[in-house]
């Protein structure tokens, strides 16, 4: 019996509709003996490329299609419903839908792309206008969801016939009527009667009927998942009494479909044999739809913008490139250097070999345009290794001088598309995109999409909402999870120490959660939305729109291809990564501030290299805010490595990667660098490549060089070999080949063995030097700014918020470095952070806080306030700046209106009266004392704690002083060591530290264990903490879910500037402060006597603190290696290269991000609810 071809199948790319991945569908189709399968997602073709690849793997012929909502031919007038006071309106899904299949090769595919693009062009939900509803290369299926199908369901064959006419006019013979039976009763969608009516109607009208199963999921039993998706899409809970999914919409095999066909034709009044004819029609339709993934979609071929658009004029692109490169040689002063000329010609040969000249010219054109707009731009990635790129002005660093290799980027042996990434200022990224679109035209340029997929938190939220769970409960459960895959939900619940409490609840209340977890895992990795990829831009020739569907992005309205990064590469579309880098914006702002305030013009790209003060700063490891070297790990590494040249920075950046850290390349390097270990080379020939890094292999380029030298195979081939090293299978082959070649070159066995050891151990981990050089440039520039213009540097950082730390930490750093922090003031503050001269001699610049950081301020409001300066009085401010009432209140709270007299609460009262006056139309009389000063109303002023709380609430920063200052007395009672004093602590000393959590990470590390790294800020400096496996049971929950921490730990010293604390117990400091206030020191003692992990919030259960007091009397954290460890060992992820990774490493940990403190902080100060908030 021949297989059945499903013509109507959706995958998870039909957002919140399909429940299976395209790969799964292809796999099942192959298992169930089908030889063709269509993918007809709703409103999108995004799954097409994956589907094509999966089908090729499974041996199934793919058909491509799309299911679109089609506008009615005559506009119908919808009744307007009353706007709901709560909960919002229903999601409108009333538009009829039809399924379009590509029939005629490339033409069909182009038609599909055009239809999808047209459907997304309008406002609101995707809807295909009737005028665009045509195409020669298409087959159209009108199913139960179409206007014709609905008329039939309503028992109106006459109306159906009427509606069929325009479809026939457009599509003629390519029109099909689609019968679907899902075992439902009645006459609606999926009922037997509608299916029978459809078949009968088709016979009557002379249109060919086909049978489909309107597949939503691959396997039987996934109906409940479809229900959850329906609920999530329509934003309503599942109604168990309402219409649920039939459970029949799975990828049925041929036998089951024959049964369906028999029932349908019988119900339609035909003999059973007619079922064969129905299936035959379906098969014939599938046979018509011939689209070849390679030939017709353009998989595997490359399309560059036309040469005349990239400045080649009438010459060929290659000629134009050669002449521009030669011009670059002269411009940069390399004209007299033979090596440069040779390298240039060598590279041009390679480029000509691949025919990539237009690509280089395109990138050069983009970079030129960006530079012309006055936007900072830098190349990153392996492209920096090409001299031609340097000559064209794309890459800043000179590759010959830094020993970068073209072969790492592009060689004759390598056949993949090279990629050049460029970094621009993040704040002006969209401007750059628009400029590119302007240059090449909308028909050649589109951004790339990025599907957002379900991970555990979103899955819990959507399933919980669908199951009518309490929103507060859902929120709590979702937040207690780290950002892991949804399919790991139950495993994580079993294993992660910080989820223990939740796991206990879940077990206790069993049934309540049972279905939740199952459904959460079923949603794993399904797309739930589409966003614009943060950097990819497609550049193509004018045929772009025939090869990819383009939709406008939701926020910016930029054209965006529905395909994601990988799809685009498979389709052979040229992608340029234009990355918005916040640090570039921050530096641009800093430079602009210096120029505005002092008139001094800084050219960052021309800053003198080797500036001693800059390197002194870097060596001090106080590198908060500096590009790439601000993380706790990097600060530690910088402290040990003590860089003093640009090359050291390059090495430092290369070493701080998961690979090198895991392979322990750091220690031998540091030992050798500081002369504590001798530098060794396997053979004198290898001294040259390895000299710069003390005999340790750090860079890809070194591996390429070593292999090329030892085997004489040439660098292009050596790069291929290097790539092969990460695959254990090919590694074996390479080893034999390497030994043979090296022996032939006359190296002895011992040398070969030792060299191979190095190559094998480090080869796959090294870092591309070109990347590192590109990174090190902004690293040096930012450190230079921090050393020479600290105030401007912090102004830039705070304005553009780069990096991993919350703003308040940068502010604390600024305070420590002696930059005066000037409070917000509506008469002085600008929209962005500014610098201000505080004293003439010695010249001290202060940092003036900006209006843009006020919570809830709009750009327009900030601009209006800044433009209207100065203001003479409160009334003047109110009338000219026209702030909203809540905004004005917030400004008063943080002291931005202090200049107008009276205290902050009095100001609030005046403001609300002004507001009332403005609303009432009558000008309210404002009591003024002395004309411009606002009179006092006798209200109590904000206390100092309330001011701090207001600053945290409004600015998310403790602007006037460090928030830990308030707890100083208590911390002294406890004997807590401050960060500054910690520097003198001995190795191995047990200390107590405390502070506000700044960053928490669980990165993958060498031992394959999970380590929680956290950084505390206590006002005097930073304390870096590490919690190892054995303390997780006791500490993990507290560390993730508290904001102020008290930690007991042991000091670890690894160098003069390298110090961390290994935590063994942790408490929520905010709770302890509360206990200290309410119960005195004895209460605190009782709390500390309890086990550290169960400190719990007082809200937990009946008398949490009391229980804790009774429970653990020995005061020790839980013993190491408790129940959670054993299953962990099984789940350890083994990398092919032998290094083990903990399954939960490298996740964003649970709890709120440290940056959003304020919500948690409110309760730190003992005050009435709502005051000053």
């Amino acid at each position: 019996m021949p297989g059945f071809a499903h013509l109507h199948t959706v995958s998870g790319f039909s957002l919140r509709y399909g429940a299976s991945h395209p790969e799964r569908l292809a796999e099942r189709a192959s298992e169930r003996g089908m030889d063709a399968l269509a993918l007809t997602d709703r409103d999108t073709l995004a799954g097409a490329v994956r589907f094509a690849k999966a089908c090729a793997g499974a041996g199934v012929r793919p058909l491509f299609g799309v299911n679109l909502a089609v506008a009615a031919q005559e506009a119908e007038r919808g009744e307007r419903r009353r706007t709901p006071v709560r909960g919002g309106a229903f999601v409108d899904e009333s538009a009829p839908r039809a399924t379009f299949l590509a029939r005629d090769g490339a033409r069909g595919w182009a038609d599909l792309c055009r239809l999808v693009t047209a459907a997304h062009a309008g406002q609101g939900n995707p809807l295909l206008p009737w005028a665009d509803n045509r195409g020669d290369g298409l087959v159209v299926l009108l199913g139960p969801g179409s206007d014709v199908g609905r008329a039939l369901a309503a028992g109106r064959p006459d109306r159906a016939a009427e509606l069929l006419v325009p479809w026939r006019e457009v599509y003629g013979d390519a029109l099909r009527l689609e019968a679907v039976w899902h075992g439902r009763t009645g006459t609606g969608d999926g009922s037997l009667r509608l299916a029978a009516r459809t078949v009968g109607f088709a016979a009557e009208q002379g249109v060919r009927p086909v049978l489909s199963n309107a597949v939503r999921y691959a396997d039987p039993g996934q109906g409940p998942v479809a229900d959850v998706l329906d609920a999530a899409r329509r934003l309503v809970p599942i109604d168990p009494r309402g219409r649920l999914d039939s459970g029949a919409a799975w990828l049925k095999d041929a036998r089951a479909m024959l049964d369906v066909a028999e029932r349908v034709v019988e119900a339609a009044g035909y003999r059973r044999e007619a079922a064969r004819r129905l299936l035959e029609q379906t098969r014939a339709t599938a046979a018509e739809c011939r689209v070849d993934p390679e030939g017709d979609l353009g998989l595997g071929s490359v399309h560059f913008p036309e040469a005349h658009l990239v400045g080649a004029g009438r010459r060929t692109a290659q000629r134009a490139l050669a002449s521009r490169a030669a011009a670059g040689m002269l411009r940069l002063g390399y004209g007299g250097r033979r090596a440069y000329w040779e390298r240039m010609h060598h590279e041009l040969d390679i480029i000509a070999h691949h025919g990539f000249a237009s690509y280089f010219l395109t990138v050069a054109q983009v970079v030129d345009d960006v530079r012309e707009m006055g936007i900072r731009v830098a190349a990153r990635g392996s492209g920096a290794g090409s001299l031609v790129n340097h000559l064209l002005g794309i890459a800043h660093a000179d590759p010959v001088e830094h020993g970068l290799l073209m072969e790492r980027f592009l060689s004759k042996e390598r056949v993949v598309l090279p990629d050049i990434d460029i970094d621009v200022e993040s704040a002006r990224r969209l401007e750059v995109y628009r400029a590119i679109i302007g240059r090449f035209g909308g028909e050649r340029v589109a951004t790339v999409s990025m599907p957002e997929t379900y991970r555990v938190r979103h899955a819990i939220r959507d399933v919980g909402a669908a199951l009518s769970m309490d929103p507060a409960e859902i929120d709590r459960i979702a937040k207690s999870f780290p950002h892991i895959r949804a399919r790991d939900a139950r495993a994580a619940l079993e294993e992660l120490p910080e989820l223990k409490r939740l796991a206990r609840e879940s077990r206790r209340e069993g049934g309540k959660y049972g279905r939740l977890w199952e459904l959460v895992e079923a949603l794993d990795a399904l797309p739930r939305g589409v966003a614009m990829h943060p950097c990819g831009v497609l550049l193509s020739d004018a045929s772009l729109l025939a090869r990819t569907p383009v939709v406008p992005t939701s926020g910016e309205g930029l054209p965006m291809s529905q395909f994601d990064k990988e799809d685009v590469e498979d389709l052979g579309l040229l992608k340029l990564d234009v990355l918005g880098v916040r640090m570039q914006s921050a530096m641009a702002h800093a430079v602009a501030e210096v120029e505005r305030a002092t008139g001094e013009r800084i050219d960052l790209d021309a800053v003198a290299p080797g500036d001693p003060e800059t390197y002194r700063l870097i060596r001090s490891a106080e590198t908060l805010g500096c590009f790439q070297i601000e993380s706790p790990g990097q600060r530690d590494l910088v402290g040990r490595l003590q860089p003093s040249t640009f090359h050291d920075l390059v090495v430092d950046i290369s070493l701080f990667r998961p690979g090198p850290v895991a392979a322990d390349m750091v220690r031998p390097f540091i030992e050798a660098r500081h002369g504590r270990a001798p530098v060794r080379y396997p053979h004198p020939d290898l001294e040259e490549p390895l000299k710069g890094t003390y005999g340790v292999v750090v860079f890809h380029e070194q591996i390429i060089d070593i292999v090329a030298r030892m085997t004489g195979c040439g660098r292009g081939e050596a790069d291929r070999v290097r790539r092969g090293l990460s695959d254990p299978e090919s590694q074996g082959r390479i080893r034999v080949w390497f030994a043979q070649q090296a022996a032939a070159k006359g190296y002895d066995v011992e040398t070969i063995r030792r060299t191979w050891e190095i190559v094998e151990a480090f080869g796959s981990y090294g870092f591309c030097k070109a990347h590192a050089v590109a990174f090190a440039v902004p690293t040096y520039q930012s450190a230079w700014l921090k050393a020479h213009h600290p105030a401007a540097f912090y102004a830039g950082l705070l304005t553009h918020d780069p990096g991993m730390y919350p703003k308040r930490l940068l502010l604390a750093d600024a305070r420590r470095r002696g930059v005066p922090i000037l409070p917000l003031d509506v008469n002085v503050s600008g929209v962005a952070h500014r610098i201000e001269l505080v004293s003439e001699s010695p010249e001290v610049w202060g940092l003036r806080l900006a209006l843009c950081d006020v919570h809830g301020i709009s750009e327009a409001e900030a601009k209006r306030i800044a433009d209207g300066q100065p203001y003479s009085s409160l009334v003047d401010f109110w009338e000219r700046a026209r702030p909203s009432r809540p905004l004005a209140g917030r400004l008063a709270q943080v002291g931005a209106l202090d200049a107008f007299g009276a205290n902050r609460r009095d100001l609030q009262l005046h403001l609300s009266e002004l507001h009332r006056g403005a609303r009432g139309g009558g000008g309210g009389q404002l009591p003024l004392a002395g004309g411009r000063q606002t009179a006092s109303a006798g209200l109590p002023d904000l206390t100092s704690a309330e001011r701090l709380s207001a600053e945290l609430g409004v600015l998310s920063m403790d602007a006037s002083r460090n928030l830990m200052d308030d707890h100083r007395a208590f911390l002294q009672e406890l004997g807590v060591v401050s960060a500054r004093r910690l520097r003198e602590a001995r190795h191995g000393e047990t200390v107590l530290v405390a502070g506000a959590k700044a960053a928490t990470q669980t990165p993958p590390i060498r031992s394959g264990k999970r380590v929680i790294f956290s950084t505390l800020d206590d006002g005097t400096g930073l304390v870096d903490l590490a919690f190892f496996d054995d303390s997780h049971d006791a500490c993990a929950h507290t560390v993730f879910h508290s904001w102020l921490l008290l930690v007991r730990g042991v000091v670890q010293r690894r160098g003069p500037r390298s110090l961390s604390v290994v935590g063994s117990a942790a408490w929520n400091l905010a709770d302890l402060v509360e206990v200290r206030r309410a119960e005195g020191l004895d209460g605190v003692a009782a709390r500390l006597a309890g086990p550290a992990g169960t400190d719990g919030s007082p809200a937990e259960g009946d008398g949490g603190p009391f229980r804790a007091r009774v429970a653990g009397s020995e005061g020790l954290p839980a013993p190491a290696g408790s129940a959670a460890r054993d299953p962990m060992a099984d789940r350890t992820i083994r990398m092919p290269t032998g290094y083990e990774m903990h399954p939960w490493a490298d996740l964003r940990p649970a709890g709120e991000g440290a940056a959003q403190g304020p919500a948690a902080i409110r309760k730190l100060w003992h005050q009435s609810p709502g005051s000053a908030g």
Binding site: R81, R82, T83, P84, V85, R86, G87, G88, A89, F90, L235, V236, P237, D239, P240, G242, S468, D470, P471, A472, G889, R905, Q908, L909, E913, A937, G938, L939, P940, D941, L942, E946, Q1167, S1168, P1169, G1170, S1171, A1172
Partner: protein, 322 residues
Amino acid sequence: MTILCVRFQLPPMYEAALPELLGLLEEFTPVVEALPPDAALADLRGAERYFGRSAVELASVVRVRALARYGVDCAIGAGPGPMLARVALRAARPGVTCAVPEDAVAEFLADRPVAALPGVGAATARTLDEYGLDTLGRVAAAPLSTLQRLIGAKAGRELREKASGIDRGRVVPNAVSRSLTTERAFGIDELDPDRHRRALLSAAEEIGARLRAVEKVCRTLTLTVRYADRSATTRSRTLKEPTAHSAALTGAAYGMYEALGLQRARVRALALRAEGLTPAEEASYQLTFDPVDEKARRIEEVADRARARFGPRAVMPGALAA
């Protein structure tokens, strides 16, 4: 030290028991004011002398009797005036009667939150908190003009007096509750308007029946819709004429519900509250020439009698029977 404020620990929706409990208080003094749904004020000025015990001692007697006769526990606050007794009640719990010391009223009030005062609702409390006037002591210390600017002339004056411990109120005897409440909860997030309307119909029928049973009419009907996120929407409607007529109440309830235009709101409960209760014989009734109204009232009368005889489910609207 003569006024008691008693809060009976009634399970929700058992306010029908309140009149009986008021009878218990009336054994001590005729001056008893009901504070529905579950509390009452009693003026014991005469009783103290009659029973020869202080108000605080009498409070213990009240509690014992309530427990013994009705099995209902209560918390009691005592004070020189009704306002102070009510403030005291907030600090009391069953077994611990809280009394306001007569000579240190201002000190007693000083540290209490503003919301403790009867008549200071959530909105006023929020306004005052915003300006740092979070305790009654601070309110008393603030200039009168400032308070009046904050919350209005009359309210400001009254607030300041109350905060300073000046209690001008007195206990006004009345018979029974001035409102009736009923609530219909849903087991899941309910979006279906038909089910909402059915719940409203049943609630309005119940309110009507209860009103007619005690021979009262209500002037105002309030609809509260509770949502899954624990928030609520409240709408009130004053009826054309005071009535206890189920059809009129249902009509008003439907009207308020339709005006909300709910679509995706996740409704967990609908509550109806009849307010402004007055005796039925005092109510006016607009006669019409339309016989339908007349018929409906007659049917209702008959149905009431049938229900009285055969139980509450004997006669009900068709929509609820399914």
